[in-house]
């Protein structure tokens, strides 16, 4: 889908005025953000700009201080109805990571968070289990339906491992994988939840240019499956070649948003983030 056509479609994810304060520090400040179907949006900005915190707000890892977040017409975060606040005094009870995964957001982590002592295959299976209906009783009873479900989960998990390009033994422990494969494994685990939107936090950190190029192809294939993708990354070649749209966060605020060409040429972005092109050698 072309960038022009994207404008016509209703967004899958809408964030309005999202703010997150940690004590006196406003990490994310009144950010508006939209992602459309099959769109790849880049999120860039200096270290400490609030990119990961914004991801954390979207995915329920932290509770925003204020704002409104909806995904496919379901509210992920927002002011609770007055009656519920009055009755339960739990305004943010719906903003939990597992519910958000259920709704269709999945993510990877900058500081990789696999289950290190589980195998490669088990890590993906864990992601799948939010889509199966087998419960405790079924696990104790171990009837035919339980076995069928487990078999399907395994097959699907193996497919995903192949899809992301992990060519390792299923029973290898996740902690023994090299960094690049750990990142791919996190993507497989996220995809196992059947998300509509995938959030990638520095997917190419620890990869060389060839591996980065493979990851770029992988993200395109994920988009072609029908997913929307938001990606945080410092590799500008990756961002500018991959994304339909790029937003720049600086000190918690959205400074610029536009096509890669617009963002790349914006002097404010160059100053805050990219550095002057000739500054390779000196300490600028």
């Amino acid at each position: 889908m072309s960038a022009e056509a994207v404008e016509e479609v209703a967004p899958v994810l809408t964030a309005q005025g999202v703010t997150k304060q940690f004590g006196g520090l406003t990490a994310v400040n009144n950010v508006d953000f939209e992602v459309h179907e099959r769109e790849i949006v880049g999120l860039i900005g200096p270290n400490g700009a609030g990119k990961t915190t914004f991801f954390n707000c979207l995915t329920g890892m932290v509770v925003p201080t204020k704002g409104l977040i909806t995904f496919r017409d379901k509210q992920i975060f927002g002011p609770a109805p007055a009656w519920r606040s009055a009755l339960l005094r739990r305004e943010h009870d719906a903003h939990s990571a597992d519910r958000i995964t259920q709704i269709g957001l999945a993510r990877t982590f900058q500081n990789i968070r696999l289950f290190p002592n589980m195998t490669v295959l088990e890590n993906v299976i864990v992601g799948r289990h939010c889509r199966t209906s087998e419960g405790l009783l079924s696990a104790i009873g171990r009837g035919p339906r339980f076995h069928r479900t487990e078999r399907e989960v395994r097959e699907r998990s193996r497919e995903l491992l192949a899809f992301v390009g992990i060519k390792r033994q299923d029973d290898e422990l996740a902690r023994n994988l090299p960094y690049g494969d750990q990142r791919r494994l996190e993507i497989a685990r996220a995809l196992a939840t059947d998300p509509g939107l995938l959030l990638l936090d520095e997917p190419t950190a620890g990869m060389n240019p060839n591996e980065t190029r493979d990851t770029m192809e992988l993200v395109k294939r994920i988009r072609d499956l029908g997913l929307a993708v938001i990606v945080i990354e410092h590799d500008m070649k990756f961002i500018f070649n991959l994304c339909d749209r790029v937003a720049v966060l600086v000190q918690g605020q959205k400074l610029v948003e536009g096509t890669p060409t617009e963002v790349q040429g914006d002097p404010r972005v160059v100053e805050a983030y990219l550095g002057s092109p000739a500054a390779g050698e000196d300490e600028s």
Binding site: T52, N111, Y179, E202, N208, A279, E281
Partner: protein, 237 residues
């Protein structure tokens, strides 16, 4: 002249899987030496073995002429080898200040505060937030702390495992100029870096590792212009 670090026929295995299959290389005093190679090549395993976190199955490691094979991490640090590991590994529930203090824990000289000033000068955000828990730093800031903590031991040999990981383009430029300055000041550096272009431009000497073997070595500049290296690691066709 003997090399500061001599690695001879090093083998390292994780259980039955051998990750490093007999590599040998030298790092001379005052040099920047880089190890480049794809994911799973064995670069990180090599650094982890040098700093005593993993035990080699075969081979020898000599630092200033003496074998340090099998020594524990704290002993290796006392001898003058510091390691800024892949993935930061900072102490999230301790303050930034405490993380830096730990970096200097093994020191007995009185230059610690000067080195700390230097770290704060390089990474002002660490100085501004020194009383805060390191866990609240952003990923890139944690990377700065990991490098700063390694510098705090004032090592003779500083091993940096992907120091540019998670850093913005501006900060990446700064890291490489810091490495350059540290070398000027006499620190020997062993650098693992996915940004092979930057690493080779800076390095005196480089080794290319593939699946646990060294397949190529040469002066940084020569490798930078080597056709095979360009294709395999610099992402150019």
């Amino acid at each position: 002249m003997t090399a500061l670090l001599e690695v001879e026929d090093l083998h390292v295995a994780y259980g039955a899987i051998e990750a490093v299959k007999g590599i040998s290389f030298n790092v001379d005093e005052g040099q920047v030496v880089t190890l480049i190679g794809g994911n799973g090549a064995g670069k990180t395993t090599t650094l982890r073995t040098l700093s005593g976190l993993l035990k080699p199955t075969e081979g020898d490691i000599r630092f200033r002429g003496e074998s340090i094979k099998g020594k524990a991490g704290h002993e290796v640090l006392r001898l003058g080898i510091a390691h800024a590991p892949e993935g930061r590994r900072i102490f999230g529930r301790m303050t930034i200040q405490e993380n830096l203090d730990l970096g200097a824990y093994a020191r007995t000289d009185d230059g610690v505060s000067k080195d700390q000033d230097r770290v704060f000068e390089l990474f002002p955000v660490l100085g501004e937030r020194r009383g805060q828990n390191a866990g609240v730093l952003s990923g890139g800031e944690q990377q700065m702390l990991a490098i700063g903590r390694a510098m705090m031991s004032r090592p003779k040999l500083l091993m940096l495992d992907e120091p540019s990981m998670g850093l913005s383009p501006i900060m990446m430029q700064r890291i490489f100029s810091v490495i350059d300055e540290l070398q000027q000041a006499g620190t020997t550096i062993l650098l693992v870096e996915q940004n092979a272009q930057a690493a080779l431009s800076l390095a005196d000497y480089g080794y290319v590792i593939e699946t646990g073997h060294i397949v190529l070595d040469g002066r940084g500049e020569d490798l930078l212009h080597d056709e095979n290296v360009r294709k395999a690691y610099l992402g150019e066709d």
